[in-house]
Symmetry: C2
Amino acid sequence: MDAISPSGINPLIRKLDSVSILSDEERGAVSGLPMHIRDLKADQDIVRERDRPSQCCVMLDGFACSYKVTAEGKRQILAFHIAGDVPDLQSLHLKVLDNSLATISPCRVGFIQHEHLLHLCERYPRITGALWRGTLVDAAVFREWMTSIGRRPAYSRIAHLFCEMVVRMRAAGLVRECPCQIAFTQNEIGDALGLTTVHVNRTLKQLREEGLVTFNRGVLTIHEWEGLKEAGEFDPTYLHLETNRAAA
Amino acid sequence: MDAISPSGINPLIRKLDSVSILSDEERGAVSGLPMHIRDLKADQDIVRERDRPSQCCVMLDGFACSYKVTAEGKRQILAFHIAGDVPDLQSLHLKVLDNSLATISPCRVGFIQHEHLLHLCERYPRITGALWRGTLVDAAVFREWMTSIGRRPAYSRIAHLFCEMVVRMRAAGLVRECPCQIAFTQNEIGDALGLTTVHVNRTLKQLREEGLVTFNRGVLTIHEWEGLKEAGEFDPTYLHLETNRAAA
DNA sequence: CGTTTGGTTGAAATGTGTCAAACTTTGTGG
DNA sequence: CCACAAAGTTTGACACATTTCAACCAAACG
């Protein structure tokens, strides 16, 4: 049988570990969760707005995104999801989904029935805390995105997104060296940042000409990290990465 | 001694009740929380980005907002808070605040020490669930705002905001009839929606001329609810109002 | 090796921002 | 209770970031 994920370790455990300190017993309880694993193709909906799921989806490998579509048919990507994320954890407490979820690259995902997660939370309050904390970090990322989309020019938005993705992927152990894979297109960058593909393209050119980053067909090369951070006004505080391990 | 809030009942209980079903014992435990009440003037910071609060703030009366300021000094308002909201509940689990919080009208707020909230959550898992659920609804609102800011024109954004505020305030028992008070300025509307005050003004004029709404110095009059909803593509699903009372 | 997907570019249109001034209401101190 | 200041709203002219439309190009893929 295949390993649960390319790295061989359970990405969910890794994620919870990064957000909280769990005991071996707790970690064991998480890995013991009955999980139905599926491999999905790129550009496939996993769940849709208005669904009432009875299970949550755990990202094991690949890239996915949450999104909404306006009445005029414009798509807004709300978040990118990487290994370890539980993109629809909200469904555990909110019956109706208010956004859709789709793969953007081939993905391996695990489905866990709500009842199992609820039992786990009942039994292990610290796991509840870790999951809750995870949703609070997600909300912090939403706030940062709102600020970007609402108040920063295209140039900064794109720089900011690249910084965020690299920091998140590094924290998840998905990236080591610099030229790294981020499986999205200029179109998806636009949909995430409230921009047109065309304008993303032009702005990418500008960033490239200024020697900050190159992004081409999913290959991201950061030439000047400091410059990119500055261009994107990127301050990783909102990702709440190290800070919280010490929390009660 | 003054009542805790104008309505006389504890807005926090009302809020938790709207999100969950609590027993009398649980309700009693919430009202028994030691809370330090303060009256604040308008336009005053309550907590600031980078603070490490040891308490949470409960809105008892008035309007407040969460916000961030970009490097170029532009403000993005992330959320409006009304009675019953706990705008910085995140600080219970995330050490460092990633946004500031300020009053926009005179406010009465209550401060509760984290330790008391944590004890309460330990003792009453269903209260944990209710609070968690509240943060998930907040996140759902962020997602909707991102969609508005990223993909809807100014006209729709403003219409949408008015719809949302009225529905929320009605759910909180703060509004009955139509001409109602919403204590914010055109400037604050702009900061919330990623627009300029000037452009908000012009768009407001347009909405007024089309007979949908009038907004003047905090007095909101909705002339055509259906038309306004349509203009703002407003669908209240994301507020998760009734749906969840039936939840486990 | 043609077809598809994603990227690149130009010209023109437009929504929103900027700057600057005037107007109106509200609140306040004399 | 007036006069004045302060805060919020309104308007005009102009600038600019971003969109739209339309085409072309380049890589990836079966």
